[in-house]
């Protein structure tokens, strides 16, 4: 890791009047698993298509390995794509689908056969080479699509919501396998998804996007623990978001109470957003608590309960393994390091 492989410099792209990407800047390191995460329509797929060469930017530069590649056709880039709907060739069998790129490179036949078989083994589809595409399940087609891309040993593999069409169980399995593959092959993965959990589990770096702009770039831990603003906090996991005021360094006031926190560097009395994750609240006896309320609803979620507590006419969402009856009076506490203070978004 460490070497910049792809860099997007000041990229803008519009379709008609619709600005899809607005002065976009980021870079991708070698061997990194980077995820573009955002709601649908945020420009993440367009960003991927720009890197793949299926779109050209209106403005800005795409740099690959030190060279500007804006005008290179997709077939001239050392990049392969795993398409959202797989785009497997229905007139070819599994072997010929995977061998498509190698045959175009006019590699010797024995090498093609070897590499296709190796790759089939890697995606756990041994023995499927003669099968027709239409006889494969969604998960198997997905693997063929990945195999067809990685058999060419690209420097970068672009994946556009590749697991979107799979059921939950298969999706989780494939997440693990993709990550494993990326590690063993040493290929840079650029992954597009709107599924925050997928992004958190697989990525080295996450780029959070909304409306064509980058909101935050960081490791999954950074983004989860230190979301830069309300949108990120809301998008990555459920959150309780409060409007507050930073009284001084390490002291924030919200819901009319003062709390110790670990943030500093704000102006005195600066208006801020305060984010508290549902799992960071703890129940304490009401007499010892700053926040007191009444249990409003309770949902069993498997590993934990989701409990809504009504405090001063406002609902707090709490994830806990402790059971409370609806109507119980409870006190809530939160550790200073679990209080995330962020600058108020100017909208």
């Amino acid at each position: 890791m460490g070497k910049k492989l792809i860099e997007l410099k000041n990229i803008s792209k519009s379709f008609g009047d619709l600005v899809v990407l607005d002065h976009f800047n980021f870079y991708i390191n070698e061997n990194e698993f980077i995820t573009l995460l955002g709601p649908s329509g945020c420009g993440k797929t367009t960003c991927l298509r720009l890197i793949g060469g299926f779109e050209t930017p209106d403005d800005g530069e795409i740099i690959f390995d030190g060279k500007v590649i804006n005008d290179l056709e997709p077939n001239q880039r050392e990049i392969n794509t795993c398409f959202q709907k797989y785009a497997l060739f229905p007139h070819l069998n599994v072997f010929d689908n995977i061998a498509f790129g190698l045959k175009l490179k006019k590699l010797p036949k024995t090498e093609i056969v070897d590499r296709v078989h190796q790759t089939l083994k890697l995606v756990k589809l041994d023995g499927f080479q003669d099968r027709h595409i239409s006889t494969l399940s969604g998960g198997q087609q997905q693997r063929v699509a990945i195999a067809r891309a990685i058999v060419n040993r690209p420097k970068v593999l672009l994946l556009d919501e590749p697991l979107g069409a799979l059921d939950l169980k298969l999706r989780q399995e494939m997440q693990y396998e993709l990550k494993e593959m990326q590690r063993t092959l040493g290929i840079t993965f650029v992954y597009v998804t709107h599924d925050q959990e997928e992004a958190l589990t697989m990525s080295d770096t996450i780029v959070i996007m909304n409306e064509g702009k980058i909101l935050q770039i960081g490791t999954p831990e950074d983004i989860y623990n230190e979301p830069k603003n309300r949108f990120v906090a809301n998008f990555i996991g459920e959150s309780n978001i409060f409007e507050g005021i930073m009284i001084e360094d390490y002291l924030v006031k919200f819901v009319d109470r003062e709390f110790k926190c670990v943030d500093k560097g704000f102006h005195l009395n600066e208006a801020v957003d305060v984010v508290i994750r549902p799992e960071d609240f703890d129940f304490v006896p009401p007499s010892k608590a700053k926040i007191k309320g009444i249990v409003d609803s309770l949902t069993f979620k498997g590993v934990h309960y989701e409990i809504n507590v009504m405090v001063d006419g406002r609902e707090y969402t709490i994830h806990t393994t402790k059971y409370r009856e609806v109507g119980d009076r409870v006190g809530l506490s939160v550790e200073p390091e679990s209080i995330h203070v962020m600058r108020r978004q100017r909208s």
Binding site: F54, N75, T81, F83, F89, H91, G101, L104, A149, N152
Partner: protein, 278 residues
Amino acid sequence: MKRLRFFSIPYLAWMLIFIAVPTLILIMLAFSDYSLYYPSRFEITWVNFQIFSQSYMSKAIIYSFGLSIITTLICFVIGYPVAYYLANLPEKTRKIWLALLIVPLWANMLLRIFAWEKIFTPLSIFTDLSGLSLDLLGTNTGIVIGMVGMYLPFMIFPLFSVLERMDYSLVEAAKDLGATDLNVFFKVIFPMSLGGIVSGVIMTMLPAMTSFVLPARIGLGRINLIGNIIESKFMKEVMGSGGLSINVGSLISLMLMLFSVISFVIITRFDKEGETLI
């Protein structure tokens, strides 16, 4: 569902009376010496097959195949780019173009043939309009031009329907894997339109091969195709010249029917969902 079966009776009756029974009669005639003029005579025989040793018959077969193959090739060369272009048009303009292709088909076939006939005469309205004088009656060129004009839509429609349905992301996928535009065409677009090509070829070639009004009118009787031989055989019987002409005509007709059936078996093998048949 069961009660609805009742409604299929008229169709089944139609099929029985106008297709099944005539086919049986054709078979009976083709393999016997029965004649309208000697109703008491009936013997099963292969004698009708002697027609295939006649030089005018083999000439007609060669011409039928030759002219229809040339027609089909020309239709394919013209039709494929047209179908490809149509398939990639925005929906609104595409509909207009398709309508322009379909509307001429509504004009009666005989009318169109007569129109060609007029255009191919040396001094026609075409000459007045363009200053060009054509003299194509009685020539192979005239017949081929007429047949191309007639059957081109039958080539374009099946091709259009496969090309239109093709997923554009496959083209992107091929490019992504290193294919040039030429590669994309020959390795993805062309093989994927194979079903449409087979349908188009058969749907053009079959009517071209069996047509008889067009070669009769434009060929001035100088060029005879299989259809013309069949017609003349049956006409002879009607005129009362007898012989075994009706039997021979039936045999040739059966041969063409067999050819059609084989063709449709081929189409269905290439196009299992029937998407290219309109």
